[in-house]
Symmetry: C2
Subunit: 193 residues, 2 copies
Amino acid sequence: MNELLKQNIKRHINLSEDELKMFNTYFKTKVIHKKNYLLKAGEVCKYEAFVIKGCFRVFSIDKNGNENVLYFAISDWWLSDIDSFTNQIPSQLFIQALEDSEILLINKSNKVKAYQEIPKIERLFRIMTQKFLVSNQRRILQNHSLTSEERYQYFLANYPQIAQKITNIQLASYLGITHEFVSKIRRKIAQKK
Amino acid sequence: MNELLKQNIKRHINLSEDELKMFNTYFKTKVIHKKNYLLKAGEVCKYEAFVIKGCFRVFSIDKNGNENVLYFAISDWWLSDIDSFTNQIPSQLFIQALEDSEILLINKSNKVKAYQEIPKIERLFRIMTQKFLVSNQRRILQNHSLTSEERYQYFLANYPQIAQKITNIQLASYLGITHEFVSKIRRKIAQKK
């Protein structure tokens, strides 16, 4: 089993070597080159992915053609459209590699099998989903309570590895502000130093 | 065990009568009168609640004193600040009863016990958390893609039972618009009929 996935699992549950070996058989490896897509709006999300290396952005495109970034994912993160994957309905999201990336994929029927054959996997994904929900809730609350500049600072402080992989435009689209405003904040911060 | 909770559980997992009986011992009943709070910002969220009857709103107050409603909960819904409850950190949220309400409460140590003694409970909360995450994601996407009027219509169509329990001001605070705008939408819709 990939060492990064093994360590990711170990942080939450204890699996025996046999269980790890079995869980591993449910995944396949995929390389996605820069600018290519794991998922496009209109498709049903067939996989949940674990990122081994690289960087992805998950975004929607609104009626006016504006891109809105839901989140970014780098190595050691789980990645999917949970709505489309869980409910097997067409996705509203695009998942695009921002650099050459490598992922492990598990499909829906293998995930169901994993739950049945290794019940501890329920715990793993209960905890993962909880963490995801917490970060979503924090983001909604921050959009209400913090200024654009404060949200920018929070992002840099909490996701420094992502910040160095993405452009001003991509970050602006995540923060829900214009990229001119991101440049302005950056200049302002540079002047303070 | 309360019949509503029993049916709620049954939709997702099968518990034996003994398991239901055991799970039931982890809960206590509480009545919360209209306008009273289950949680206030600054407190650590000690309980997850299952609503038997009544209606709650979960909201934050920003620096300018504006209330932002995160969600509403009525009978058959689960209710908590998942961030504060999971991580045992002070909450940023208020949970207030909008009418005389009755809930079942489970505290953190009993929830941990439930996971240990009835492993199928992991599955129950994995599914619950997933559903919550899906509805959160839909809300974020709607804020990007739908107009205020479309979001208002979506709320009425999907949560008719909640819509009849809340005021224009509370709904406006959930939709992120002014209550004058909600009144305007309501007038416009009335004229169309």
